[in-house]
């Protein structure tokens, strides 16, 4: 499913989107499939499937640890695409990974493998627009959205360029730092949303972990909230994972209605 179609569908229902991130293969490929099912059952509208990389510089300790677990359990790009292809949920799947894994497979092949596996978006946290030309072309050709980021220090021309290049949605990093749960997200989110002028849906991530925060972010004007580390923490605990993941998703989704 394309990301734009999901946002259109939500707009008709007057809802905002919940985007959930999990690290594929943590603790196993089989488990990830079940977790994705639980997320969607709970209310997730889009699922970001992290393809783990050995050196995730944009991630905090929670997702770093998940990446390590997944790699040790044998996750790799071949297994990843196979697993993604077998997920039959009615939501867009987005691949989040680091550029060396894409470069090594080849931009064109990576984009095609995504499309073949039913993945319709790619986020690459270490690939700024300046370096993304080849992947951009490959994504266009394969009808996959390449999603760019906006941060509190992205201004002027950079902001314009990133907004022009992004498709599907724009990923707004609400504050400086790496991924991970935070206490306060409201203020910085308000500041950054006020500066962004675009037709593309605005998804806010980095630091959101509960319904209250999600509500504040949506009140500030976001079209979607992205939640990752909070789900990954539940998965890491290994306790009653599917039920708790579903419960958190439904709690967060309430804030999106």
């Amino acid at each position: 499913m394309r990301i734009a179609d999901k946002f259109t569908e939500l707009k008709e229902k007057n809802e905002k989107a919940l985007i959930a991130y999990v690290c594929a293969g943590d603790p196993s490929a089989e488990a990830t499939k079940e977790i994705v099912h639980a997320l969607v059952k709970g209310g997730a509208d889009i699922v970001e499937l992290g393809l783990p990389f050995s050196d995730p510089v944009a991630d905090g300790p929670t997702i770093q640890a998940a990446s390590t677990r997944a790699l040790e359990a044998g996750m790799n790009p071949d297994v990843y695409f196979e697993m993604a292809a077998s997920i039959k949920e009615n939501v867009p799947l987005v691949c989040m990974t680091y550029y060396n894994l894409i470069y090594k497979r080849g931009n064109e092949k990576f984009a095609r493998d995504c499309a073949d596996a039913g993945i319709t978006g790619i986020i690459v946290p270490d690939l700024p627009a300046e370096e993304a030309e080849e992947l951009h072309v490959a994504c266009k050709k394969n009808s996959v959205d390449l999603i760019f980021l906006i941060t509190p220090v992205t201004t002027g021309k950079r902001m314009e360029k990133n907004l022009e290049k992004t498709s599907g949605f724009v990923y707004i990093v609400s504050r400086l730092g790496v991924t991970g749960e935070r206490v306060d997200v409201a203020e910085s989110t308000k500041n950054i949303l006020a500066r962004i002028d675009t037709e593309v849906p605005k998804a806010v991530g980095f630091g959101i972990s509960n319904g209250q925060q999600a509500l504040e972010v949506i009140k500030a004007g976001a079209d979607a909230v992205i939640v990752g580390s909070a789900f990954v923490s539940i998965i890491a605990s290994g306790e009653d994972v599917n039920r708790r993941v579903e419960k958190l998703a439904s709690e967060l989704k309430i804030s999106c209605r």
Binding site: V57, Q64, N76, N100, P125, D126, E131, V153
Partner: protein
Amino acid sequence: MKKSMYGKFGGQFVPEVLMPALTELEEAYGRYKDDPEFLKELDYYMKEFAGRETPLYFARNLSKKYGIKIYLKREDLVHGGAHKLNNTLGQALLAKYMGKKRLIAETGAGQHGTATAMAAANMGFESEVYMGAKDVMRQHMNVYRMELMGSKVNAVESGSKTLKDAINEALRDWVTNVEHTHYLIGSVVGPHPYPMIVRDFQSVIGKEVKEQIMEKEGRYPDSIVACAGGGSNAMGIFYPFIEDNEVKLFPVEAGGKELKTTEKEALHSASLCVGEEGILQGAHTLILQDKYGQILESSSVSAGLDYSGVGPELAYLADIGRIKPCCVNDDEALEAFYELSRLEGIIPALESSHAVAYVMKMAKTGELGDLVVINLSGRGDKDLETVFKLKKEEAKEACQ
């Protein structure tokens, strides 16, 4: 060619949040690098604080034994015991001109961390250093030194617990504190403009060699040999000679135990010699990786060379054939460590021992010509414990 590239290598593969900081750094460097006041101040620090210029020493006994003329560029005599201070003084001064208050750095052997701590203490910066937990263990004297000078040292427990992981952690710090912090990278690695800035500040080595060798020998050397981890001491001594095609340039990488890789790790750190193209820590360069692009852990007896990547400009110069990548293994480096200590009364760093070892190995082949300059990038005091431990293990094995 984009200005951030060396041929197809280089670039800026970093999180969006760092792009404005890289632009700011590039602009500031462009503004100050030829500014008379900046240069005057830098010159003062280089002379009075670092102790430049360093001698180009004719290694009489080594030359005699190996049958060619060998000179040592004595970067081991720079304050702190390695070439690293050339770069940290330059970047710290730049950070001061930029109005930054805090310096962060990664370190492998602890030499760059120490040099950062020195510059920070002297110029009044708050500073924090990231160091792999494995390196904290094998180089703990340097940890004390950094702490004495007021730096906070953070042991990094992720990944291979060495230099690569320290860089990851420093990048994460920078992403969080980018507004008032300067990331003082210690080698010619990372995103543009770092490889250029570090190369320029280290080029003082090669510039001095040019004058010194003309004075002593009336000609340029036939070859220059330098060890290469990230590649800053190598680029520093090579760069002023790049246009002088008759001078052969040899970066010597750590061959570790052997030039083999297992599923998860390389038994060496020879990314120029046997690495493949990829993206690591901000740059398109030669790296050690598996078939999927996961980064392999590297290995070497010397912490400062133990890195899975190499500076993009070195990758480019190797690609066009201007430099000739080579490597020596752990045992050869150790032998050179003993040899230089005994023959010349100079204890080299294990990193620099790799360069010495290559010259010992190749002197008789004619490959190096008969006038060679070795960049003696650092002194070996920091390595005594490592060497003694290896000696003990060897003795034990011999008994069994």
